[in-house]
């Protein structure tokens, strides 16, 4: 080996080489400890505090209060008082003005929120900066305008708010899920107690500061941090009128059971195993990008991720080859680096689950391919992975992996694609790639899923309803339909019996 060869083998120069470009954390003014946000103030929780870490480095970010039952009681009581005395008495126009203020403050502090989100969650800054936080502002802006127009929401004249809403949100889009929950609830005239996920409470704490800056009446929004026990206490609290949950189907099931007979209105946005169907006449360049965005966006921590790729048999090899080439150019690493495409897996527990299911995929006979990329020493990482030769009965084709793992299956006819796509107890989302409009519309009609993306994937908008069929849950978030989750029609004689007797 010549000297020259040695130099080349050490590091072949590539157009992909780049200098690190980390986003500065100087915009953050984090406290060492965050309390619960109850009745407009930060207060210490009575449970044992826990720390939230950066999943990219495993370094501690802050310590967070843990709400016990008494804290949940206090938060619900504050929300009830605010509902009775303040919020339900305000005009829709004034409720709207508060929401507009919040939208503007989110825009003003957008970079700070994005950095906090990427630090705490592990998602790439280009996603938190360009997707999550702008959508948060858009969500508040959209629902702000609804607050004084509820008569036009399709529920008849003078629809009624429900009261206190208990909301439990997941760790994959911490601040965005908070916005999806809080904005329509407040616009409709409800007050809120919300519990962020245990691993991602940070952006909610900054959001609480924003609520203080907006001078939102105290008690209208209360934030309780903690784990499953806190969430359990919240959704089962006798004085909440509405439960909204986004998370796993298992927990959703438990919530549906626990609220049976209580008369609480429930919306559940649960798991998915979306089919992304690629026909041989698909716009292939866009399809490849769409497939990548469909499953590798946010490290695949997306309930509506296109985790089952259904490719028409005659283009299977082309699609898989191009996918591998594209994935080989993705950069995995520091979430705060502006060039990062794939960030860190949110937690050790989630990483373990992804590894376990991937190993099972291999054991069940699927062929595994993983993009070659350097894995940082600390933190939780999983390189983009594709499984081919996946059978429909394989667990990686049936279960939600919730990670950067794509299962590729094939089909020959549209009827077969539809049958395979619908062959799941889930029904949250699906994708169709074809340049033939008539085929797209016909297939979209037959797919049993709440959101269908045709020649695109993972698009979200506050004006667009989102939610599932079958075991992906019920109710819609977003759009006019999202308001209905937080209102009752004045004329609709709702079933009037509850466990304790007649309402």
């Amino acid at each position: 080996m010549t000297e020259n060869d040695k130099a080349l083998s050490v590091k072949a120069p590539s157009f992909l080489d780049y200098a690190p470009a980390p986003e500065s954390t100087s915009v953050l003014h984090l406290k060492k400890h965050y309390g619960l946000f109850i009745d407009g103030e930060f207060v210490d929780g009575r449970g044992d505090a826990f720390t939230t870490i950066s999943p990219a480095t495993e370094k501690e970010i802050a310590s967070i209060s843990n709400a016990n039952n008494a804290d949940v009681d206090a938060a619900v009581a504050a929300a009830r008082k605010a509902y009775d005395r303040t919020w339900s008495k305000l005009s829709g126009a004034d409720r709207g003005k508060y929401l507009f203020r919040i939208a503007r403050l989110v825009q003003e502090r957008a970079r700070e929120l994005a950095v906090a989100e990427s630090l705490d969650n592990g998602k790439p800054i280009k996603e938190s900066r360009d997707v999550d936080v702008p959508l948060v502002a858009a969500w508040f802006f959209y629902y702000a305008g609804w607050a004084d127009k509820l008569d036009y929401a399709g529920l008849g004249p003078n629809p009624q708010s429900l009261g206190v809403a208990a909301q439990v949100i997941p760790w994959n889009f911490p601040l965005l899920m908070l916005a999806w929950k809080i904005a329509p609830a407040l616009a409709a005239g409800n007050t809120v107690v919300i519990k962020p996920a245990e691993t991602t409470p940070l952006s909610a704490m900054i959001f609480a500061e924003i609520l203080q800056q907006a001078d939102l009446p105290k008690g209208v929004v209360n934030i309780v941090t903690g784990a499953g026990d806190t969430g359990h206490a919240l959704v089962n609290h006798p004085d909440v009128n509405k439960v909204a949950f986004t998370g796993s189907t298992g927990v959703g099931r438990a919530i549906a059971k626990s609220v049976a007979g209580t008369g609480k209105k429930v919306t559940l946005e649960l798991g998915g195993k979306a089919a992304n169907i690629v026909f041989d006449d698909a716009p292939m360049d866009q399809a490849i990008e769409g497939i990548v965005n469909g499953i590798f966006f946010n490290q695949g921590h997306v309930c509506c991720a296109g985790s089952r790729l259904l490719v028409q048999e005659n283009v299977h090899d082309e699609v898989v080859d191009r996918l591998k080439a594209r994935l080989s150019t993705l950069r995995m690493g520091d979430p705060l680096d502006k060039n990062t495409d794939i960030g860190a897996i949110n937690s050790k527990a989630q990483l373990d689950r992804i590894r376990e299911l991937s190993d099972i995929g291999e054991a069940e006979g699927s062929e595994r391919w993983t993009a070659e990329c350097p894995i940082p020493e600390n933190g939780f990482w999983f390189a983009p992975t594709i499984f081919t030769n996946v059978s429909t009965s394989s667990r990686i084709a049936r279960e939600e992996v919730f990670g950067p793992v794509l299962s590729v299956l094939t089909f020959r006819t549209p009827a077969e694609a539809i049958a395979k796509a619908n062959n799941t107890p889930y029904g949250l989302s699906a994708g169709i790639w074809s340049e033939k409009g008539s085929r797209v519309l016909a297939v979209a009609d037959k797919l049993r899923a709440g959101v269908i993306w045709a020649n695109t994937f993972n698009r979200f908008d506050p004006a667009s309803p989102f939610g599932g069929y079958k075991e992906s849950g019920y109710g819609r978030e977003g759009g006019r339909h999202g308001l209905a989750s937080y209102l009752e029609s004045a004329g609709w004689a709702a079933p009037a019996v509850t466990k304790g007797g007649k309402k």
């Binding site: 029904g427 020649n455 004006a463 667009s464 069929y469």
Partner: protein, 285 residues
Amino acid sequence: MTRLTVPKTYKLYIGGKFPRSESGRTYEVATKKGAFLANAALASRKDARDAVVAARAAFSGWSGATGYNRGQVLYRIAELLEGRREQFIDELMATESLSKSAASAQLDTAIDAWVWYAGWADKYVQVAGNGNPVSGPYFNLSTPEPSGVIAIVAPQDSSSLLGLVSVIAPALVSGNTVVVVAHQNAPLSAISLSEVLATSDVPGGVVNILTGSPAEIAPWLASHADVNGLDLAGAEQLEWVDLQIAAADTLKRVLGPVVGVPAPSVERIVQWTETKTVWHTKSLI
């Protein structure tokens, strides 16, 4: 000499056919004063499961029909009911001890409910759907679609025919198929209604009617994994919270008990639908 009458054998209605209960069981239907009227089939768990299979098999065809088509089929039920007035009035008078005018009024209301719901079949999508102005180059449309198979406990306290119609018609409008447990003590008009359904272009399996004990059958329907929705309208006297808990295992959509008979409402149609939102990219020009 008076003519000896020919009494009817009342059976179940499953998949467009009229089977006896596979269990071979029957129960006595009597007037409120206790006089024997008929032996009705006492449906079993197996009958309930057969009915779900039939309802699932019929779903694709019924939900795939146009709203205009479904509307005409539902309207035709009203037409045929009108033509069989005497039979239904007699049955309601016998089973519910109603005066002729009260029985007639119940039948009129039931017929009018069919007409009202029939008209919704090609309109509810316009009212419950939405074109969404998303911030990007996308066509975006939200459309309600039927949830699937709906299991129903028909109202049990009064108005056996009207109660039944008030819960099955709204589910049928959007294209759901149903399995319904009829009024336990006054099931005769339900079986006669199934004869109307069988001859009025409603495809077999779209409506499946079980007679017998709601307390016995409802748990099997509530826990059945191929049922998408559970209407507990007439379940107030049952352990309906347990039914709701059983339904949560497969995250069924559940509507709780009502007092009396639910009034016609578009909300009851929309309750058994799912909103599908389709995004489509707009190209550059």
